[in-house]
Amino acid sequence: MVSQNISIENTRQWYRTAPVTAFPADGGGCVKIGERQIAVFHFKATGEWYACQNMCPHKAQMILARGLIGDCQGEPKVACPFHKKTFSLKTGQNLNGEEYAIETYPVRVEDGFVYIAL
């Protein structure tokens, strides 16, 4: 039986990654969780954190954490360093009108540590 409203807590597991101070402000960093590579971004001005897959789906490169971040009409985004494809950090949607998208994950900051739910 699957209930109607599945909360994140029920289906995902939170992982403690690294202290807040290890991540660059207004930039990205990559964390390894098991065999997975997750890109984590910190928008200092608004205090928002986002996480997504590190692999850029365009050419399957493990690179998104090294991308520039910013916003497009208020939507937080990351631009892949290789060919500047951009993705929404909220929905993972491709902002160039192409079909491929990325996975995004919830982030939580607690006791000075960054947690990610996979």
């Binding site: 990559c30 608004t46 050419k59 490169q61 991308g67 520039l68 937080p76 360093p81 079909e99």
Partner: protein, 846 residues
């Protein structure tokens, strides 16, 4: 309900759907008045075949898609890809596909396109022989090309040359074999074709004319071509591009009228011999012609959409009007992508019309232009352009719209006078409103200008999105830019190239603001002049401005830099980086060479001599970079800024130190210049060279600033460029001494740095500079702006602030700690993969 079925989901089939939706706006959705079903034999939805070759330069297949599968679904179109229609029952009005699916139709549209014509030469089925039409063909060519060395393209027409360029770009020795005695026989006369041949040979493609292939050599794989004259050309890959053959097999089977040499016969309404069946695109034979171009195919699609909408009573009010007819189409073309400009328009040969031809031929620079003018000298009838085709759009418009020629028509032929204020842009405004600007989409100047005004469009991307102009072959895009600028100007609006949505300022304005108010970080600049969080466009642009103003260490601004500047190295496929130490002037001691070799060996780096007279070490992991730099610095090296929008190299020839012709010490001067400007940040990269005499072995005239020794001193050239759009540098001053030369360069560079748009090289900047070279000379030499003293002081400050960026990282634990792949472990990226090639490593494929 009217059932409309389309056979073929190529460019014409897709355009038909789009045009039909446009003509039936509002009706499509209002309760089942018609249904639209599309069958496409290819595995993916229709894509942009015209730009197929872009696949070779890395554009992925899905970027060529005209509309994603979701688009069809969203508009209620049933799309079946990977389904080939194999039977049509004209009495029962049904179509059946190879999988047995059967659909009824009231109207049928054949859009089956064409297939490459493959001559039945013995041996044609050997492995390694390809055609060039679909994404699958290109995939097969790419795979085979990896282990091939010599490619032969059969066919020296438009497509053949495009295929040849692709083979060349794959790194293959490339040959073109043409049956006719000249290249592009349908578009060029023999003089023009001769120039094209020379140009193709200069970029490395061998051309074989009047060659009739009679046999393919080789056992199961192709090994060569044997010709009728019994000569043989060795080749381990062959691309056939010998023309097209309309795909009329299905139409033939069901008894539609077919032309004597193939093609489904249609009337002006694009109806076949069965009035319920239409044909569009390359399968249709109209007036005895198969049009092998996309613009007429789109026009045909619109004609059919108009007819069907009208007859089935589906036409929306907006689209109402007389039924459209197809009455032939202009075959003007501009060849793209091959690295040589070629165009022909109107009637290029005028074999049957009385006319006068004017010809301009410049064999040295490989330029041939011919225009045909009516006998009374009033109208342009057609022409040919080889080597320089910038005037194509204007000439085509002049020809199509029968615009009265000026009394001196030879002006049409003179080489474009770059930057001297010839208002190519203003020229578009003299066109009548009906002038067709985008012939692919059939959009006139009037349509574009009124959209710009009414919908307040502010850039070319918006024009493309709103009007669809420029979305076909793309040839009219430069004209769209000109129309935009001129329309806005006419409205009294100043056209400002603002950075992006976050800054309502041009780069020049922002540069001045930062210099006056002395902001030091991106956050300050954003807070004072911008909004939002910034983006991948404005962050590097502001980073470059901050660096040009303060020459502060860019590593301190790492998160606003493009990855190359962030890691002070160039990123490669796979995510490793390359390391290029500075080798000023290209002069290097044996000890340093050995040191470089040792570092490369220790870290297993791929080595290559660059085109900039230095050595590139590829394949370093991000965590290895600081260690590699540390060892290089120990051996006396510093950063070569190969990653930066900064000074790259100053090449030199040996000059008077060794060369029997040298008149000055070019090496010494190159080293002085390179050390002076190293680390200087600019809107784009800067390159320079110094030659020791007029023989110009250092290629100084292709550089942003280049210096050539004379008996009396030095000649200074500026604003040259290699790269995608080469341009010769122009003489700024002659016979000057070293000090004057450096002063002029200081002024020139500061003026450029202050006023150029982001990512504009000096050549592009000069082309847009009002007043061109004359004005530049008056600024740099005559000081008309009165800023030269300031320019020189500012430059001196930047020179004094230089520090080696690698060294700063190596010496700071803080900065060093940023060089790792993971934040939470020191493991390197486990997905990195290399393969061996010619005794060194390289990254595995994408």
């Amino acid at each position: 309900m009217t059932n409309i079925v389309v056979v073929g989901n190529g460019m014409a089939g897709f355009k038909f759907c789009e045009k039909l939706l446009a003509r039936t706006e509002g009706i499509a959705t209002d309760g089942g008045r018609f249904s639209l079903t599309v069958f496409g034999e290819e595995p993916r939805p229709a894509y942009d075949r015209v730009h197929l070759s872009a696949y070779f330069s890395g554009t992925p297949a899905d970027e060529l898609t005209l509309a994603p599968a979701g688009w069809y679904a969203d508009h209620g179109i049933r799309l079946f890809t990977g389904e080939c229609v194999v039977q049509i029952d004209r009495d029962a009005r049904t179509v059946t596909t190879h999988s047995g699916r059967c659909v009824p139709y009231d109207v049928l549209v054949m859009a089956t396109g064409s297939a490459p014509f493959v001559p039945s030469v013995p041996g044609i089925h050997k492995d390694g022989i390809f055609v060039y039409r679909t994404i699958e063909d290109l995939e097969a060519i790419t795979n085979w090309g990896r282990q091939a060395t010599r490619a032969a393209v059969i066919g020296g027409g438009l497509l053949g040359l495009e295929a040849a360029k692709a083979a060349l770009d794959m790194g293959l020795e490339t040959h073109v074999v043409e049956f006719a005695p000249r290249l592009m026989p349908r578009q060029l006369d023999s003089a023009g074709a001769g120039i094209l041949k020379a140009k193709m040979e200069a970029i490395g493609v061998s051309i074989h004319l009047s060659k009739n292939t009679t046999h393919f050599e080789g056992y199961d794989r192709v090994a060569g071509l044997r010709f009728a004259d019994d000569t043989v050309l060795d080749a381990d890959m062959v691309i056939i591009s010998a023309g097209i053959k309309p795909r009329d097999e299905l139409a033939r089977k069901i008894g539609l009228a077919i032309g004597p040499r193939g093609g489904i016969v249609v009337n002006d309404a694009m109806q076949t011999s069965d009035p319920a069946i239409y044909a569009v695109g390359e399968c249709a034979l109209h007036g005895g012609m198969i049009y092998g171009l996309v613009a007429p195919a789109y026009e045909m699609a619109d004609v059919v959409a108009s007819a069907i909408a009208k007859h089935a009573d589906l036409e929306s009010e907006r689209a109402a009007g007389p039924t459209k007819l197809f009455t032939g189409f202009d075959m003007s073309t501009k060849l793209k992508l091959i690295g040589v400009d070629v165009a022909s328009f109107g009637d290029p040969f005028c074999e049957t019309t009385k006319h006068r031809s004017l010809v301009w031929e410049d064999r040295l620079n490989g330029i041939y232009k011919r225009v045909n003018i009516s006998e009374d000298g009033k109208y342009l009838l057609g022409g040919i352009l080889v080597g320089e085709a910038e005037a194509y759009n204007m000439l085509l418009q002049t020809c199509k719209n029968r615009i009265l020629l000026p009394p001196t028509p030879e002006d049409l032929l003179l080489p474009a006078r770059k930057g001297e204020g010839t208002a190519a842009g203003a020229g578009v405004m003299s066109l009548p409103d009906e002038a067709l600007i985008c012939s692919c989409e059939g959009i006139s100047k009037g349509d574009i200008c009124s959209s710009i005004t009414e919908k307040e469009l502010g850039d070319v991307a918006a024009i493309k999105k709103c009007t669809k102009a420029g979305t076909g072959c793309g040839g009219c895009v430069p004209m769209l830019g000109d129309l935009l600028t001129e329309t806005l100007k006419a409205q009294g609006k100043i056209v400002r190239k603002v950075l992006c949505e976050h800054f309502d300022h041009t780069r020049q304005e922002l540069y001045d603001l930062v210099r006056i108010n002395e902001e030091e970080t991106f956050d300050e600049v954003l807070a004072h002049y911008g909004k939002g969080h910034g983006c991948e466009v404005c962050k590097p642009a502001v980073a470059s401005i901050l660096a040009s103003v303060h020459n502060d260490l860019i590593a301190r601004h790492s998160v606003i830099q493009d990855t190359n500047d962030r890691y002070l190295a160039n990123i490669q496929r796979g995510g490793t980086y390359s390391v290029v130490p500075r080798v000023a002037g290209g002069e290097i001691t044996p000890d340093r060479l050995i040191a470089l070799g040792q570092v490369a060996q220790k870290y297993n780096l791929y080595c290559k001599i660059t085109g900039g007279q230095r050595i590139d070490l590829f394949g370093a992991r991000v965590d290895q970079l600081p260690m590699i730099w540390e060892e290089l610095i120990e051996a006396g090296f510093e950063s070569g800024h190969a990653y930066g929008k900064a000074l790259r190299t100053v090449k030199s020839c040996v000059g008077s130190t060794w060369c029997r012709f040298g008149v000055q010490d070019s090496v010494g001067f190159a080293i002085e210049i390179e050390n002076r400007y190293k680390g200087l940040r600019a809107p784009h990269k800067l390159k320079s060279a110094v030659s020791g005499c007029v023989r110009e072995c250092a290629e100084a005239q292709s550089k942003d600033f280049g210096i050539i020794a004379t008996e009396k001193g030095w000649n200074l050239y500026v604003c040259g460029n290699g790269g995608a759009k080469p341009q010769h540098a122009q003489l700024l001053a002659s016979d000057i001494d070293r000090e004057t030369c450096i002063r002029y360069i200081d002024r020139f560079l500061m003026f450029y740095i202050k006023t150029a748009e982001p990512l504009a090289r000096t050549a592009t900047w000069l082309n847009k500079l009002e007043g061109g070279m004359g004005y530049l000379r008056s600024v740099v030499i005559d000081d008309v702006l009165g800023l030269n003293e300031q320019f020189e002081q500012e430059m001196q400050r930047l020179v004094d602030a230089y520090q080696c960026e690698w060294k700063s990282v190596v010496e700071s634990d803080d900065l060093r700690s940023e060089y790792r792949h993971f934040i939470n472990t020191s493991d390197p990226d486990p997905t990195l993969a290399f393969v061996e090639e010619r005794g060194q490593k390289r990254p595995a494929g994408w």
